[in-house]
């Protein structure tokens, strides 16, 4: 189970989402630049991101949950968010997706009121944060 809490640290809203689909990603943001001198000496320049990592999740949600998560993004798309991922790790960072794109993917019964149809939607989220 995923938990999004925003805005951090004065948390006001909490949304819970089911675990993401497979193929979630986690990567460091540090970069290395190599410079080679004429005598063959190698110099490397490292740029660290203060421990920040980029995470990529794909959620499969009901239409109702999509509306909730969409409302959460509209409110806190520029705020710091605390995320507790499916592994229990806590991250504090920002959403970096732009635009956020929800895709209606298929039918999913039963329909949950007040939505007239049962559907499942996919959304991919990019998130950059520092693990707490």
């Amino acid at each position: 189970m995923f938990t999004f809490e925003a805005p951090y640290p004065a948390i006001q809203t909490t949304s819970q989402l089911p675990n993401p689909q497979w193929s979630d990603q986690e990567g460091i943001q540090d970069t290395v630049t190599r410079k080679l001198a004429m005598d063959g000496t190698k110099f490397t320049y490292v740029k660290r991101r203060n421990g920040r990592r980029k995470l990529h999740w794909t959620f499969r949600l009901t239409r109702n949950k999509v509306l909730e998560f969409k409302a959460l993004l509209v409110s806190y798309f520029a705020s710091k968010v605390r995320v507790t991922d499916h592994n229990g790790r806590v991250w504090v960072g920002n959403f970096t997706s732009n635009p956020f794109e929800f895709e209606g993917s298929g039918r999913a019964e039963p329909a949950i009121a007040p939505m007239p149809r049962g559907e499942w939607w996919n959304i991919e989220i990019e998130f950059e944060g520092v693990e707490q």
């Binding site: 189970m1 938990t3 805005p7 004065a10 948390i11 006001q12 809203t13 909490t14 949304s15 819970q16 989402l17 089911p18 943001q29 740029k47 660290r48 991101r49 203060n50 421990g51 920040r52 949600l61 009901t62 239409r63 109702n64 949950k65 999509v66 509306l67 909730e68 969409k70 409302a71 959460l72 993004l73 509209v74 409110s75 806190y76 798309f77 520029a78 705020s79 710091k80 960072g93 920002n94 970096t96 732009n98 635009p99 956020f100 794109e101 929800f102 895709e103 209606g104 993917s105 298929g106 039918r107 949950i112 007040p114 939505m115 007239p116 149809r117 559907e119 950059e128």
Partner: protein
Amino acid sequence: MATLYVNRQVVNVLGHDAGKPRVTRQCIEILHLPGSATGNVYEVSATDNWDTLGEDLQEVGPVTVSASDALTFRETVVVRGPQYGLAEDSLRFSESAVAGRPWNLAAFDYLQQATTTYDPMTLEPTTVYTGLQDEASATKPPPGSNAPADSLNLTESASVVVVHATAIECKAADEWDTLDDSAYRVQANDGQETLVFTEEASVEVIRPATDVIEWTETATANVVRNLTAEDELDFRESVGIIGFAADVLHNYHPFVGGGIGGPTPPPATCPIPASNESLCRLYDLNDYADFVQLRPPEFGNKDRLTMNRISRETRGGSLIVFADAMWPKLQTMVLTIKGLSYAQVQAYLAFVENHLGVDVGFLDWEGFYWKGTIMNPNEPTVQDGKDSYTISFEFEYESWEP
């Protein structure tokens, strides 16, 4: 019968003459008293009967009564200072007139050479003067014409003002030691120069007053300020409850707590569709009768949420994200609708052509109303099969209540 002489003198003093009064008029009236005298007369009684005197009293007019009173005021002044002011002025003039009399002298200078020549006929010497002759002449002015005339009029007045006894002693002195007035006359013309001096020295009662007012003011103020300070410290305590029910993960169920100062939280309840129609409809916002009825879109439809925000990375590598609340937020639907008839496609094309760039209404397949613009009117329609057409469009929208 005795005769008593009563002398009555009226002495009018008309003036002092060696200290003796001069009698100017004398009247002797003889009063005859009838009676006899026996023995010594010790007492003489006299009765004055004016009638006897034969004096007639005649009323000549109203009695005039006059009274005079001389009221003399005397003022005694205790002298503690100078009784009188003293003004002294010595004005001394010395005038001399010098007559610059030009004595015009005449000078004759003969620069000649006398040569004696002899007349050859008579042999008499003849003096012949050769050379230059110079003559200077001057005219002496007639005697008396160059007498200098100079009139120097001086007027000096000194006034004394009685100084009050209690006044401050003051004294004014003015002395003109020497005034020289020289008149020079260098020409024989008649000239007259009048030099008038007027000097006045006066003593006035002057009472110099010197007053020094020193103010010393001390103000002591006790300021009592009724200031109030108010600070509302909002402490909020929240208890997070993580529910494990399936509804929490599938339903619209955000946990919205209290708090101020942050962004507007999402609504706590799920939006409810305004219509229960299952078909989509594009319609004119001003004319609801102008619409196009469409099937619901295929799966794979997208709902894009585009936000304007600024992402910057600090030198230390931290990510800073900022967005102003008033910056625009764009929402776009990307829809693909299949299975349309030819008539529907043509109606759709006509509708899009008639509403290029303007807001149109859109009722989606869930029953929500939106208002927006079709952003890609040039997207072609595709015929997939016999009487089966597919359209695709992007609709940039915002919420709207019809």
